[in-house]
Every structure is written in C-alpha cells, then in structure tokens.
Amino acid sequence: MSTPILQVKNLGMRFGGIKALDDLDLDVNSGEIVALIGPNGAGKTTFFNCVTGIYNPTQGDVVLTPPGTPAIRLNGLKPNQVAEKGMARTFQNIRLFQKMTVLENVMIGRHCRTNSFILGAILRNTATRQEEQETIHKSYKILQKMGLEKHANDLASNLSYGAQRRLEIGRALATEPFLLLLDEPAAGMNPQETQELIKLINLLQREGQSILLIEHDMKLVMELSHRIFVMDYGRRIAMGTPEEIRNNPVVIKAYLGESADA
C-alpha cells in the first residue's frame, strides 16, 4: 500500500503575476484513492494540467514511478507521453469527441497501446485486423463496466450528462493507466448518478486502480478517499485522513471564510 507512484515536490505555476500553484507537495501511493479539494479557483485543475503535461510547471518536480520500473521525471513531457507512461485523466468541462460514437471515444484511448499505421490501415493485414478486433473488444468491455454498452454506436453528444462523465472515465481507462486522475467526476450529476459513480470508483479501487480525484461533493470525498489534500490559493493547507480533515480548523476556515470564527 505504501509504494509511492506519484510524487510532486515544490510544484509552482505562474500565469504572469498570478501564482496559481505555490510550492505544492503531493504524493499518491499504489492502490490508494487520494482526493484533492479546495475552494473554487484554488488551483486544483491547474495542478492536474501541470502534472499531465498540458502546462509546463514553472518550478518543482513531478515524478512518476510505474510499478516495476524506475522513476520518471515528467516535467516537460507532452500530454501524450504522460498518458503513455500510464497516467490518464478526465476533464472538469467534459471534453469528449462529440461527433464520434461512444465506442470510438473509448477506442481513441487504446491508441497509445496499439501501433498500426499508414500501411497497416491501407493493407489491413492480419496483424492490423487482429489489433483492430482487440481494440474493439477491450473498448466494449470498458463500456460494459461503465454501463454504456447500450449506447456503443450512439454519438457521444447524444449521451446524458452523467453518462458523458462516465464515458470520459472509460476513455481514460482505455489507456491502461496505473494512476487515474478525475477532475470533478460528480459535477452536474444527480444524487442517483453520484451514487452509481461512487460504486464505480469503489469497483475500480478493488481492482487495484490508484486514483487521484478532485471533487467538491464532500460526501463522495469522505466516503471514498484514503487521504485528502486540501489546497487554497495554490498552496497546500492540509493533508490527512477524512476524519482529520473534517475536524481541521484551517480547512473549515478556508471553506467558510474568515467570518466563520467571528
């Protein structure tokens, strides 16, 4: 349980004058569900963007240790290289490929685990056909897990909001990540959909999937996470088990503002 797979040290990100991230430390151990919480604008999404290569952090280190391999420093890698190394993410504002079918969306996730290229596409030789069949097969299995197999051939844009969020998770899973990053997976879901999501995340955890998630829904966070990191104004203000965080006065103050203790 205690082998670290993601270690972030002194991470800093500046946008001109704003310090969106300031000296942030965070780590995730293998098999763990870790939550990253904080008020709006705290810098949580920016953290994800820095870790996954969408932004290049202005300071600090991001180190990934895939199971059974030496540690890799991720700074400066491109998003697709990060995904290849085994860290995949979802987006806060859903970013599905709207005009592709649900199944194709997941198939895109298989891209970095397959190799056929121009010649394979044109000749459709045995290797390509097998690979394609395997892609379809694995993607379909993921859809079944997400409960979306009925919609496999619908356009992604035709899914309900909750289903779109689940499809994003499925698409990320298709890249075979050992660390899954979820940015507000429950945002915009109704209580029943949230309940299903909790079940899904629990299932993934039991299968050994490590997860780092950003979430505003405290019930979900408290129920699922082993550890919680709290940040505000780009800085880490607390870390601990759900119990510790619940009773931490600094956290309560950050969430309720200064007036809370008046």
Binding site: T52, I54, K78, P79, N80, A83, E84, A88, R89, F91, R95, L96, F97, Q98, K99, M100, T101, L103, E104, M107, I108, G109, H111, C112, R113, T114, S116, F117, I118, G120, A121, I122, R124, T128, E131, E132, T135, I136, H137, Y140, E149, A152, N153, D154, L155, N158, R171, A172, A174, T175
Partner: protein
C-alpha cells in the same frame, strides 16, 4: 409558417423603411427646372423589397430555431434516404454496378469533348478526396492545397524536360514530392488552428505559385512549360482521341484507388486519431495521441493525392504555367469538400461532379457563373451546413470471443 402577427411586424418594418428612405429615394429636386420630382414608385419598391426580405428573414430564423429544438429533443441519429441506400447491400451493389457500367461505357457514348470534361471532373474528385483528409477528417483548414497540385505538375514537367523521365516514373515521384511538401508545410503550422492556419496555408499556396512565376531559370516563369508528353501505354503510339480515352480510364482507376485507400484510412486507428484531433485537440493529446505525428501524416497523405493528380494534369494538358495554380483553384477544391459534406467520401464525389460539370453544361449562364457559385455556397452554409451528404460514423460490431459468455 408565418403567422399574421409576423406579417404585421414585417409590414411595420417595411413602413419604417419607406419612411426612412423617403427623403433620398422619393424626393428629387430638379435644380434646373426648380421643381420637385416625386418618385412614388421608388417608395413602392423599397416597401415591397423590405417586406419580402423581412419575411424571408423571419422564416429563416424560425427554421433555425425549430432545427435547434429538434436537435435537442432528438436523441437518435438521423438516417436519411441516401444513407439507408448505402447501408443496404440490396440497393448498394446494383447501384454501384450500374455506375461502374456507365463509367466504363462512357467514352463510347459521348464525344471527345465530353470525355475531356469528365476526366477533369474525375481529377477534382481525387483532389477533393485528398483535401477531405486534411479539412474534413483532420479538421485542418488548408487554403493552399493547390500548391501540392502544382508540385505534382511541375515535377513531371521539369523531370521530363531535364531528364526525360516518363509519366509512369514520375507519377510515384510526384506523389512523394507532394507528400514531402505537405510535411514541409505541416511543421511551421503545427501550433496553428482555424483562421491562423487558413492564412498561413493560403500564403504557402501563393508562395509556391509566385516562385514558379518568377524563378525563370527553374520553371520558365509565366510562359510555362510546353510539349509535355502524354502518358505512354506500353510503347504504343496513341492518336489524340485514344490518348484522351486512355486518360479517362486512368482517372477512373485513380478514383477507385483513392476511394479505396481513403476509406480504409478513415476507418483505421490513424483515421480515428485524425477525427479526434479535429474534435478536441487537448483531449486528443491527453488520451495519448501524438499531435505532431498525426497532423503531419494528415498533411502528407492529403498532399499525396494532389501530387498524383498534378502529374496527370500536366500530362493531360501537355502545357502548364503558374496561372493554373491560383488561389481560385484551392477555393474550388475546398468548395467541393464543403458542398459535398466534410468527411463524407460520397459527398465529396457528388460535390466534385456538381461543381465541375454544372458550370460546363451551363455555359449559357457563364457570365453569372461566379454569382451562382457564391449563391450556392451561401445557401448551403445557411440551410445545410453539414453538406449534401453528412458523414455517418461507422458502427462497430462487438463479437464476444470464444469461451466467453455474453
């Protein structure tokens, strides 16, 4: 469709316009006679015109609103007649066979002029399908596509002029060179999207043309290169008519090859990556797709077809000069893709046939050609932005593997 209330509003609009334009349209002072001429008929024109326009505007907005509402409520994919026809082998095969038979017998039924026109149309089919990879599938707005066409044409003209290379030797070379230029264009524009990409590619197209126009020592400038040999057929001497027929069949084969290859590319791992890149660049990268590689292959594989057709073009006309490779050419090829339906192979074929053949047969209206062209494009954008035939994604069938319960 238009209620009484709406017409009343339009009537009000027209009254308002008549009032506003009254001083300039109706009153005219004759300075010599020192009288005022009342041109009441102008008032009628203004009133009538603005009424009609306003009514049309209302119908249009009404339709748009309806369409948006329909899209919201409608969860299933729409299937129109053509798509049903295409999915059913029962209809598809006889239809394809009929087309094929027509294409084969065409040179025997029509005059040389008609064959020539048809060959040109077929060339545009291939060009359209090539650009479709870049614009329709990968979503990279390329306004300089004609540059690759020029690369192909000049490859043949120059390699033949200097080294006496034959058509069949240059055909693959021209394609390769065009692909190389595709990559060359791709590198600097990797970071650009949308309008910016359009501007840079437009400039690229113009640069190639201007180089050809001004670098006399290399390309013989505006006077062009003449006496380019037609393609040979196993050393036979062909008469002009035979050569034209031969080129026609060559183009038919080219079209078939293009359809085959482009179709396979679209429904492959690479094709899906192109579409994902078009749909959302950031998500696409985050899902492990190498943006650089994907974009460059799109540019290169799009350009290849232009290079091939360029070689054939030079062989067909036996004379080329930079005037054949202006921006208008790029615009027409782009119009074919947009009119036909972005990403849809059948749509692009239809678009090419309509846009190239119609003007040929409507020569009587040749003065208004560009006007009609513009009107068609504008009305397409308004009423059918997805093109004549919209692209439908392939449905993949899941087959449970052996020893596994469903």
């Amino acid at each position: 469709m238009i209620s009484l209330k709406e017409s009343k509003r339009s009537a009000l609009v027209s009254l308002w316009f008549m009032f506003l334009t009254f001083p300039i349209m109706v009153i005219k002072v004759d300075a010599i006679e020192k009288t005022i001429i009342w041109r009441w008929e102008n008032m009628f024109y203004v009133g009538f015109g603005s009424f009609i326009l306003s009514i049309f505007g209302r119908i249009f907005f009404e339709r748009q609103k309806n369409r948006r509402e329909k899209q919201l409520s409608e969860k299933i994919q729409q299937h129109n007649l053509i798509q049903i026809l295409l999915r059913e082998p029962k209809y598809l095969y006889p239809l394809a066979a009929a087309f094929f038979l027509f294409a084969l017998t065409f040179p025997h039924l029509f005059s040389t002029y008609q064959i020539n026109v048809m060959t040109t149309a077929l060339m545009y089919v291939v060009l359209g399908l090539g650009l479709n990879i870049v614009v329709g599938v990968a979503g990279l707005l390329d306004l300089g596509y004609v540059a690759f066409y020029a690369v192909g044409a000049y490859s043949y003209a120059l390699l033949n002029f200097h080294f006496g290379m034959t058509f069949w030797m240059v055909l693959p070379l021209g394609a390769l060179l065009a692909a190389l230029f595709g990559v060359l264009l791709g590198f600097p524009v990797l970071r650009l999207r949308g309008d910016y990409l359009a501007i840079v590619t437009l400039a690229f197209g113009e640069i190639i043309r201007l180089v050809m126009e001004n670098w006399n020592a290399f390309s013989q400038g505006p006077s062009g290169i003449s006496n380019i040999p037609r393609p040979g057929l196993l050393g036979f001497d062909l008469t002009l008519n035979q050569a034209i027929t031969y080129l026609y069949y060559l183009m038919i084969v080219m079209v078939l090859i293009t359809i085959f290859v482009v179709n396979r590319l679209q429904n492959s791992r690479l094709g899906r990556a192109w579409i994902a890149l078009r749909e959302d660049e950031i998500a696409c990268q985050a899902m492990g797709i190498d943006k650089t590689k994907t974009k460059l292959t799109a540019f290169a594989l799009g350009a290849t077809w232009a290079g091939l057709v360029g070689v054939i073009f030079a062989a067909k006309t036996t004379f080329i000069n930079p005037a054949s490779f202006t921006f208008l050419e790029s615009a027409i090829i782009l119009a074919i893709v947009v009119l036909g339906g972005m990403g849809s192979i059948l749509g692009v074929i239809l678009g090419a046939i309509i846009l190239i053949l119609l003007p040929e047969y409507l020569r009587a209206l040749s003065d208004y050609r560009m006007l009609a062209f513009g009107a068609i494009m504008v009305s397409m954008m308004v009423f059918r932005p997805q093109g004549l035939i919209s692209n439908v994604r392939r449905h993949y069938q899941y087959r449970p593997q052996k020893g596994e319960q469903e």
